[in-house]
């Protein structure tokens, strides 16, 4: 594992730099050359050429575009992500970090919910395969998966808040019971995916030699299932956790919009439409870096689990 793996990680990391650089340039150009103008949004109907010029000078938008980009990069390396034009006097970090915290909190809860439901469902379905229960269970969760958040965010508050009176809807912070309903709405569609993966994983593990050996040794079925099959079948789920990692910081736009949660996705939407140059750019960079790192982590984890993949992956890229 030593040399090959380290080299592999290094190569992937080296690739990351130009790709993220390219993305930052692209997004920068898209924002700066696009027709949306933050100065227009700030001034609204009070726009005058003079006032606009002053504001452009204040934010440095009057300089040539490559200078603006270099300036941005220079500030970036000094840990300065820029300032928000929508929330004047607030820095990007001040605007973004509290919202990332909210979204991260909700997503962690959602992930736990997805796994606590999805893993048992998958195991159950796998052991019930061949009967009508397997497609029924999986089909049920696929149906849940098919209901867009746009719809569940309407019927769920109606049912649980108005009809049954079980929950309140005001956002009171991530660590408040009112968050349970939005977390449910956000996570239930994900259960099907985990359940299907778990089911497939179990089915595969069942055919492995060591399971057959364990059975042949005459171990109790219970022991075989718990300590061999389920345990090993859980391994590929690492991938899912890893892939969900950037999602943790992404937030869920419609849940945030419809339940009134001050998360990062709403901020991002407003920032894009305003537009709030530095906030959008900061979010995109943050998201891409996180994603690339998560991808590398997964590959590494897989390398540990299955050396065959590591070798082919090395060969492939």
């Amino acid at each position: 594992m030593g040399q090959g793996l380290a080299g592999y990680i290094l190569r992937r990391l080296l690739w990351t730099v130009p790709v993220i650089f390219a993305i930052s340039v692209l997004v920068f150009l898209l924002l700066r050359l696009g027709p949306l103008d933050p100065i227009e949004s700030i001034l609204g109907q009070r726009y005058t050429e003079e006032g606009a010029e002053r504001l452009r000078a204040k934010y440095g938008y009057d300089r040539p575009i490559h200078i603006q980009y270099l300036k941005y990069v220079q500030n970036l390396f000094q840990g300065d992500l820029g300032v928000s034009t929508r929330h004047q006097n607030f820095t990007v970090a001040e605007v973004v970090i509290p919202k990332i915290r909210v979204s991260a909190g909700m997503n962690v809860m959602a992930m736990v919910l997805i796994f606590t439901l999805g893993v048992p469902v998958g195991v159950y379905a796998a052991f019930m395969r061949g009967t009508f229960i397997d497609p029924l269970v999986i089909g049920f969760w696929l149906l849940i998966d098919s209901i867009p958040v746009l719809i569940s965010a309407v019927w769920a508050p109606w049912l649980f808040a108005l009809k049954l009176g079980w929950v309140n809807l005001s956002y009171e912070g991530v660590l408040h019971p009112n968050i349970i309903l939005p977390v449910m709405v956000m996570s239930l569609p994900g259960v099907a995916g985990v359940a299907r993966l778990m089911r497939a994983s179990i089915i595969q593990v069942e055919t492995e030699d060591y399971v057959r050996t364990a059975r042949a040794k005459g171990l109790r079925e219970r022991t075989v299932v718990v300590s061999h099959v389920v345990r090993n079948a859980l391994l590929p789920m690492v991938t899912v956790i890893g892939l969900a990692l950037p999602g943790i910081f992404a937030g869920s736009l419609f849940v945030e919009l419809l339940f009134g949660i001050p998360g990062i996705a709403r901020e991002a939407l407003d920032a894009v439409l305003a537009p709030d140059f530095d906030v959008v750019l900061g979010l995109v960079l943050f998201g891409s870096i996180l994603f690339v790192l998560a991808n590398i982590l997964i590959d590494v984890a897989y390398g540990f689990i299955d050396p065959r993949i590591r070798i082919t992956a090395t060969r492939g890229g």
Partner: protein, 326 residues
């Protein structure tokens, strides 16, 4: 942007892929009742979309501004009832299906098939830095908050499209449809950079796997041309797994248009779309008073997503009966 757990479970492993006999998939699909039901539902949805001018009973935008016609329940005249402006909900749903159909079709053809297949083949065949470049770019593109960037791109183009619309209207066969088509093309263009990677990755790993097969190596040494090689040996091998990928990504793809239109950033306001329907129906209070609006505009969409999900699931079982993994 939710935690979507069913990530790339559909790729075949590097090891031992056997090209399926030609009609096995079809036979297996017919045998599976669930998959058949799904296919029938999808077919109904698509037929409604294709033939919407004939299937619909009213003009989807024709308002009837009377109190009696507002939020009317289902009746023999209005099968799904009417909405707040007295428009016929059934016709609006049928035309929305057309929007969904067009959007998914165009994005799949250009994004998944054209770009995805092309770039995937390129990456798999050429290998080396070409492969690495394509894969890394794709990874990052699919990693950054997709919906956010799609919104940014479409917002950037939604400025003065009028001149384009009119030149299209006067100089092409599009005629009055130009007004609807330009905003539509904008969201298609905005979605494309994010639509190719899933299938490109599948194709690439398939190409890598197939190239290891002895008969391909043999064919290569025998000097069979690349085109023939692709057509005779590689495509048939890729096709099933490619179909699996497409059907699994269909619901997510269709949702992009719904989401954008819901936010008022998608299709033209006079083009019916499920996003616009859900936005109009989507208030808790309205749902309580007039549930038919949300139910009749929501259930067709849910069934559409459900059918594709079921079909994707069934296809996985058929194509990769033993397992699926990275």
């Amino acid at each position: 942007m939710t935690v979507q757990a069913d990530v790339r479970p559909l790729e075949a492993g590097e090891s031992g892929w056997q090209p399926a006999p030609r009609y096995r998939i079809l036979r297996e699909l017919v045998r599976k009742k669930i998959a058949m039901t799904a296919i029938v539902l999808i077919a109904i949805f698509y037929l409604a979309g294709i033939f919407s001018p004939w299937v619909s009973t009213h003009d989807p935008n024709q308002q009837e501004l009377t109190v009696e016609a507002r939020y009317a329940g289902p009746s023999s005249d209005h099968w799904f009832g009417t909405d707040r402006a007295g428009r016929d909900l059934y016709s609006r749903v049928v035309y929305s299906a057309r929007t969904t159909l067009l959007f998914t079709l165009v994005v799949i053809l250009t994004g998944s098939v054209f770009l995805g297949l092309g770039l995937g083949l390129l990456a798999g065949y050429r290998g080396g830095w070409v492969d690495a470049l394509i894969m890394r770019v794709g990874e990052v593109l699919s990693g950054i908050p997709t919906l956010l960037l799609i919104i940014a791109i479409s917002a950037a183009f939604r400025t003065r499209i009028t001149d384009l619309v009119f030149s299209l209207k006067e100089n092409t066969f599009l005629g009055d449809d130009a007004r609807a088509i330009v905003p539509f093309l904008i969201i298609v263009l905005a979605s494309l950079p994010f639509a190719w990677f899933g299938s490109a990755r599948i194709v690439r790993s398939q190409v890598l796997a197939i190239r290891e097969q002895e008969y391909i190596l043999a064919a290569e040494t025998l000097g069979v041309s690349t085109v023939r090689l692709l057509a005779r040996h590689v495509f048939p091998g890729i096709l099933p797994i490619f179909l699996v990928g497409v059907s699994a990504s269909m619901a997510g793809l269709a949702f992009i248009e719904v989401a954008l239109s819901y936010l008022g950033l998608g299709v033209d306001p006079s083009t019916p779309s499920f996003g616009i329907l859900l936005n109009e129906a989507g208030a808790v209070r309205t749902f309580q008073q007039f549930p038919h609006v949300l139910l009749f505009s929501g259930i067709p969409l849910i069934l559409f997503f459900f059918s594709w999900n079921l079909l994707g699931d069934a296809l996985v079982d058929i194509v990769e009966p033993r397992t699926y993994r990275r």
